[in-house]
């Protein structure tokens, strides 16, 4: 019934509510924050990838005129053995604290060691050079397979592998081992006519959001702590800071400023607790800003990984078995996204026999953080390349083999869940029918590749409050940071319920004291879950408005109906009043109307994408140019198609960067040598064609308008799609990311 519904607001393309302020430079970001008596903080970071801290002497820094306070890990409360619950999962509190300010060891270059507050940023910077830290330098562990060796240097003397519920006796860099098994893989491979097994390596990559992290903290005289910052979730900042500082959440207010991108990287806190410590020590508001090198070296990228994929299929192309080994670098502390990688790797296929092993491994690199469908792109690079090779071996069109084996409603994923209504096959069909797929592409060294991808999407808690204005507009209060146009997509869902225009909704993203609990903008959940809360809040408003109309007309509520923005009386009295006119009469009918909606929906709908890409390879230099790119994706229902297209294009572009040039480059000492946007080579607009975004709509039954999350899955297929296109162009299978010019030259045997 969702399929053919006509909407008035949903599916249109109004101008985003926050657009004018952003394009005119008036929107306030964290770095813009000013306050009387503001001090400026600066963090001293470790020059070593792995070292024991022998001593820290801050006396020379403290003596510098203009310095108002210096903090180290000693200023943090003792975390003990506590496991902190941060809503998204349990975290060892000591690890969390040590990542904020290192106590006994530094575990990556850029690891925060101390921080200074001073009257200006230049003094703070100079004071950092006056902090004397004595280190005992230890050998770094920089690669996941090396870290898994039994004789590898240990990052944590107390870390023991948890494997399928059992904890090992000996310490190890392997934090955990997970396994998913479905059917009988051995039998499945025995049935296969063709079996392909390949190994893959992917590099460490950063989200590359344009706005660096920032935080300003201030304690009132009564101990009330306020933090103004850039974050994907004000409430998760409140939770993390409360745990780290062991301070009650009711004494912490977090004010989210505008955000200049996050992609998952602005969920974990880094400098926010540091700003709070400095504010406490100095009694003044303290602002801490990162520069770009701080961001690369001191915040979470997404992991490098080693992946082995084995798949078998019959001559007819039926995939009979699949096996994956995923070893992910967690960075300095446990917690890589190997779990989601294992959940997603074979999800575009209906396969009866599957075994997936995942390993979470610590290395001397920054603690990894989420990045757009965390874990899934690494995994898909392996599986989607192997599927391409199977199709090639069998002489089957690569989209055809995906149709033949495509996941559908009722299929069980290897990690357990059974698919509800999904749009996997629909995206493959749309890609196949797209003119791009049949366009000629026969030039020398030009190639075409395809790949599919899956991301499960999440629900989680959201709250929305609607205040009805007397002029027929509403103020919509929400707690979801707006990264990709969600003020608009959430407002439009409320507008649809109330029969008003998107412009009649005034959405505000507010602080943690001004709206109900709302989880992070992440997991592609915001338009889905906060949109759902807005729908519920609008329904609440509608119910109350019906009661007012009934009161006005002295009829039963059951005899008032609401359609097309008009309330009318049925069964007898002929009365009619518009939403707008009724808004003007709230005072006389009982007072203001406030609607509220809170949700924690379980029906997040998984999203599928299938991408088609054409490349040209310069055989002499190894450079790959993207000539044409088509990204097909199931959005469930595109509330605001332009912003869905924007998400699809952005995900594809970040995937192109990941595929071709982006990576953390380390020297033997474990120092990142390209911690700048000059040498960490993200694509610019000159490196990209227009990304053709194609929206497929297979409504999600778990949302009133059929919404699925759209932000993450578009980064899953690009790496494999491009690798497959490179193979088509030059006959070389690339199995290591990025597929940079030097690697292509090597693979082609030119160097």
């Amino acid at each position: 019934m969702l399929e053919n519904k006509e909407y008035k607001v949903i599916g249109t393309r109004p101008i985003r509510h926050d657009g004018v302020d952003k394009v005119t430079g008036r929107a306030l970001y964290g770095a813009d924050f000013q306050a009387a008596g503001l001090l400026h903080g600066r963090v001293l970071r470790s020059p070593h990838a792995h070292a024991r801290i022998i001593s820290i002497d801050t006396s020379r820094a403290e003596a510098l005129p203009g310095v108002k306070g210096v903090v180290t890990a000693k200023d943090l409360p003792d975390p003990g053995d506590k496991i902190a619950d941060l809503g998204e999962g349990a975290v060892n509190l000591k690890h969390l604290c040590d990542n904020i300010l290192a106590s006994d060891k530094v575990l990556y270059k850029g690891h925060a060691v101390a921080a200074v507050a001073a009257t200006n940023p230049h003094i703070a910077e100079e004071a950092c050079t006056l902090i004397d830290v004595e280190y005992e330098v230890l050998p770094p562990v920089l690669e996941v397979r090396q870290a898994m060796e039994p004789d590898a240097p240990l990052l944590h003397e107390h870390l023991r592998t948890t494997s399928l519920g059992e904890t090992a006796d000996e310490p190890s860099n392997v934090a955990s081992h997970i396994q998913h098994k479905l059917g009988d893989p051995e039998k499945g491979f025995a049935e296969a006519d063709v079996i392909i097994e390949r190994e893959f390596v992917t590099g460490t990559v950063h989200q590359g959001y344009i706005e660096p992290h920032n935080a300003t903290a201030h304690y009132n005289q009564d101990g009330q702590l306020t933090i103004w910052c850039s974050t994907q979730g004000a409430f998760t900042v409140r939770e993390q800071v409360a745990e780290i500082l062991q301070y009650p959440i009711s004494k912490i207010k977090v004010v989210p400023m505008e955000i200049g991108g996050g992609f998952g990287g602005k969920i974990s806190v880094y400098i926010k607790p540091v700003a709070a410590l400095l504010a406490k020590k100095t009694g003044k508001p303290v602002k801490v800003l990162m520069n770009r090198a701080d961001v690369f070296e001191g915040t979470g990228p997404t992991p490098a990984s080693f992946i082995r994929v084995k798949m078998g299929a019959t001559k007819e192309g039926k995939i009979t078995a699949a096996e994956a080994y995923l070893a992910f670098e967690a960075g300095a502390y446990p917690g890589s996204p190997v779990g989601p990688g294992a959940m997603c790797i074979f999800a575009p296929y209906s396969i009866e026999n599957v075994i997936i092993d995942g390993y979470d491994v610590v290395v001397n690199k920054p603690k990894t953080a989420p990045y757009r469908a965390p874990g899934a792109p690494n995994a898909a690079f392996g599986s989607e390349t192997v599927v391409d090779e199977i199709a090639e071996k069998l002489g089957i069109d690569p989209l055809e083999i995906r149709l033949l084996n495509g996941a559908k409603e009722g299929d069980r994923r290897a990690d357990g869940p059974v698919h509800p209504r999904i749009g996997c096959i629909e995206t493959v069909e749309a890609a196949k029918a797209h003119p791009h797929y049949t366009a000629p592409n026969g030039k020398k060294h030009h190639g075409r590749g395809v790949a599919s991808g899956y991301w499960f999407n999440i629900g989680l808690e959201s709250s929305v409050t609607i205040n009805v204005n007397s002029d027929g507009t509403i103020n919509l209060i929400e707690g979801s940071t707006d990264i990709g146009g969600t003020r608009a997509s959430i407002a439009m869902q409320a507008a649809e319920v109330l029969g008003i225009s998107a412009e009649s909704v005034n959405p505000s993203v507010v602080d943690t004291e001004s709206v109900g609990y709302t989880a992070v903008t992440g997991g592609s959940r915001t338009t889905y879950a906060t949109g759902y809360a807005a729908y519920e809040a609008a329904q609440d408003v509608k119910r109350q408005m019906i009661a007012r109309a009934a009161k006005l007309w002295e009829v039963e509520e059951a005899n008032v109906q609401f359609a097309d923005g008009e309330f009318s009386s049925i069964n007898g009295k002929e009365e009619q009043i518009s939403f707008r006119d009724l808004c003007a009469r709230l005072g006389e009918t009982g007072g203001p109307i406030v609607g509220s909606g809170t949700v924690n929906p379980g029906g997040a709908g998984g999203a599928y994408a299938t991408h088609v890409v054409d490349v040209a390879v310069d055989e002499e230099t190894g450079k790959v140019d993207i000539l044409r790119y088509t990204a097909v994706q199931d959005a469930g229902k595109a509330i605001h198609p332009s912003y869905v297209e924007g998400q699809i294009q952005g995900g594809a572009v970040q995937g192109i960067g990941w595929a071709l040039n982006e990576e953390y480059i380390y020297n033997a000492e474990g120092e990142m040598t390209n911690a700048s946007f000059l040498d960490y080579r993200m694509p610019t607009c000159l490196d990209l064609p227009m990304i053709d975004a194609v929206i497929v709509e297979v409504p999600n039954p778990g949302h009133p308008y059929g919404v699925r999350g759209v932000g993450e899955v578009p980064i899953v297929p690009p790496m494999a799609a491009i690798a497959n296109a490179i193979y088509d162009a030059i006959g070389v299978r690339m199995t290591e990311l990025p597929m940079s010019p030097d690697r292509l030259l090597k693979a082609m045997g030119k160097i």
Partner: protein
């Protein structure tokens, strides 16, 4: 960022006297697109920034078909490529000035600063070398001239002595049937630093079949930009052919002493010297042949 003092000099003698007095603690400020960044990132210690943009001689941009080009040390890139006569005469210089940074940087940065910054990967230097540029230097003992290929001595180091400054670069008028070409390899299409750069100038005979003379220069494959003298000499008197060009490219590869770093590996760079030298020579030859 550390504190420093700023002085705007208005004459060459004033700037020279300041440089002589302040010594190592002073640095010339023109566009500032390298200097300011280096000081901000604490990669260079500077107490005095001496702004030369008010000195007339460093702002000269004068082209004459007989005497050639005088390019003041502080002339910004955008002024160079805005001049049609210069574009026609020295296309390799235009190839370089249009890819140094982005549009905003090209509004401030100049070839003189690019030369004095002495990066091995500087895009502005190979064109100066292949165009036979001479660097005019002012100092406490008067003026002297140094060929462009001898100006840089090590990464960030030049022949400039205490108290000396670059005033201008003089480029001879192009010979008939000559042209030049510069290109670099970067993994992206813009906003990057050369993994390898190669420039070439060629003069052909009247029939445009035989190479009368050629000059090849390389960037990012040694501590300084290189004049590939032997490779250049091999082309003189040879008929234009793939064999001749391949031989020159091989000779250019022979002088490359690249390192491996985050921008590329040594073997990749050596390989690219061959590719880019061929492309630069073919590009320059094509320009001669395309000219009417």
């Amino acid at each position: 960022m550390r504190d420093f003092s700023y002085i705007a000099a208005t004459t060459i003698p004033e700037a020279v006297a300041l440089l002589d007095e302040k010594g190592e603690s002073a640095r010339i400020l023109a566009g500032g697109t390298d200097l300011i960044v280096q000081v901000r990132e604490a990669r260079r210690d500077v107490d005095w920034m001496i702004d030369i943009k008010s000195i007339p001689e460093v702002n000269v941009l004068d082209y004459n078909a007989d005497s050639g080009l005088t390019l003041g040390a502080a002339v910004e890139c955008y002024k160079i490529y805005a001049d049609d006569a210069i574009c026609d005469a020295y296309p390799s210089l235009i190839d370089a000035t249009t890819i140094i940074g982005g549009t905003a940087i090209q509004g401030r940065a100049g070839v003189g600063g690019n030369l004095c910054n002495a990066s091995p990967a500087a895009d502005g230097i190979p064109p100066l070398i292949v165009l036979n540029a001479t660097c005019v230097i002012a100092g406490p003992n008067g003026e002297r001239e140094v060929p462009a290929e001898d100006f840089c001595t090590a990464p960030g180091q030049t022949v400039l002595e205490k108290g000396e400054m670059l005033v201008s670069m003089k480029i001879p008028a192009p010979a008939s049937n000559s042209s030049s070409y510069y290109l670099r390899f970067i993994p992206r299409n813009e906003m990057d630093i050369a993994v390898v750069g190669a420039g070439a100038s060629v003069t052909l005979d009247a029939a445009k079949q035989t190479i009368v003379s050629a000059r090849i220069a390389l960037a990012a494959v040694a501590p300084t930009p290189l004049f590939a003298e032997a490779a250049s000499a091999r082309l003189a008197g040879r008929e234009v052919s793939d064999e001749a060009i391949d031989a020159a490219a091989e000779a250019a590869q022979a002088i490359a002493r690249p390192i491996s770093d985050m921008r590329g590996t040594a073997e990749q760079r050596t390989h690219l010297v061959g590719v880019l030298t061929r492309r630069a020579l073919n590009g320059a030859i094509q320009r001669v042949r395309d000219a009417t």
